[in-house]
């Protein structure tokens, strides 16, 4: 679970150093709903380019679930640790999420796919 501390999310654990090439293959489980290609916004989930470091529920032009918008307003930022916890069990981490996938049970899969996301493109300096 994520914890709020002074309006920001306290995070720990989950380090880089995995295999982003393998992470791209893991991303096939996400591919039906997400893209990391700049400007590709037709899939039903938000574009994940630059998602690492972004405040939850804030990508412009995407209609997020109320649960994600609320979490972002309360300070949830998609750090590596937050992504790791979310991807392990999305509905438990964030009840009300509309993301359909049941989660990635293997820590190595989560680490590598987060590596892949991190390398997919620049994290915006300031989220709108």
């Amino acid at each position: 679970m994520w914890l709020l501390a002074g309006g920001a999310v306290t995070v720990w654990c989950s380090t880089a150093g995995g295999d982003p090439a393998r992470g791209e293959r893991v991303f096939q489980r996400c591919f039906a709903c997400h893209s990391v290609v700049a400007g590709e916004d037709k899939p039903p989930g938000p574009n994940l380019r630059g998602v690492v470091g972004r405040r939850a529920g804030t990508r412009l032009g995407f209609r997020f679930s109320p649960a994600l918008i609320e979490a972002g307003a309360r300070g949830l930022v998609w750090t590596r640790a937050a992504l790791d916890a979310y991807l392990a069990d999305p509905e438990r981490f964030l009840p009300g999420t509309e993301m359909a996938m049941p989660g990635l049970s293997l820590a190595v899969d989560r680490r590598d796919v987060i590596d892949y996301l991190e390398k997919s493109g620049p994290t915006p300096r300031r989220t709108p």
Partner: protein, 319 residues
Amino acid sequence: MRRSLLVLLITLLVLPPVASAEVAVQAYPLPPGGGPHDVAVGADGIVWYTAQRAGQLGRLDPASGKVDLIPLGPAAAPHGVVIGPDGAPWVTEGGTNSIVRVDPRTREVKRWPLPEARGYVNLNTATFDKRGRIWFTGQNGIYGRLDPASGAMQVWDAPRGRGPYGIATTPDGDVYYASLAGSHIVRVDLDTGAAIVIEPPTKGQGARRVWSDSRGRIWVSEWNSGNVSRYDPKTKEWKTWKLPGDSPRAYAVYVDDRDKVWLSEWSANAMVRFDPETEKFEAFPSDRRGANVRQILGRPGEVWAPESGADRLVVYRMK
């Protein structure tokens, strides 16, 4: 607490009055953590569901409420389940990229893997045609067909790539699927496997699932637009209705034996029944937060909905 009351109040104001003395609602609790994704009920009344997060197929006996769980193997993450003409549950097993049959008596699990060259396709939903073949969709951009008698499997690239989602068979045996990312529906040529794209009138609507009524008209739940739409293959005409509420999200659709159209609506956390004759909606809000019904199926007199976020199966029985 105040926010919850406000949400409840708004929900009650924007939704039509809860129906209906003619419908009895019963919820069956399931083993926690399974995340029931899809459900299917056989002619014998036994209910099968995919416990996607647990990698199992569940079997519920509604008479006793007893649930049995059948493991589908390491890395399993089953998405869809339908009852085949043989009375067995058939599963689109996304975790292992295979079509799976579970023998209802022996519980034996038989698996038909997709060709390795296809890679991971994110299997979604399946339907049987009238020739005993099972057709299936893969969200990463494929649809396919398996003939269980011969074991022959064919997989085709979907037009416009990723998106194939719900799939259904009409009373005449035609097969249609919806493309969520592609925002269209497809009729499949049963002989050649060719996909014929049909465009709903609402641009970018996010066609998620399809079902047929008794006249072969195709009903579509539109995730992005919050509409339910109907395509008549005879006249090629569409008709569209917006679900109740400010920003509805129509996930699943199913047409019951009385040609009433059932939908799961995520914004209001409700099941919704639409009467095509009166063009009126009735809402059945869940009493659990974030119930997240992802699919609906039934048999005459019963409509079943898996509450993936609440680990329950809910049945709506017509009196």
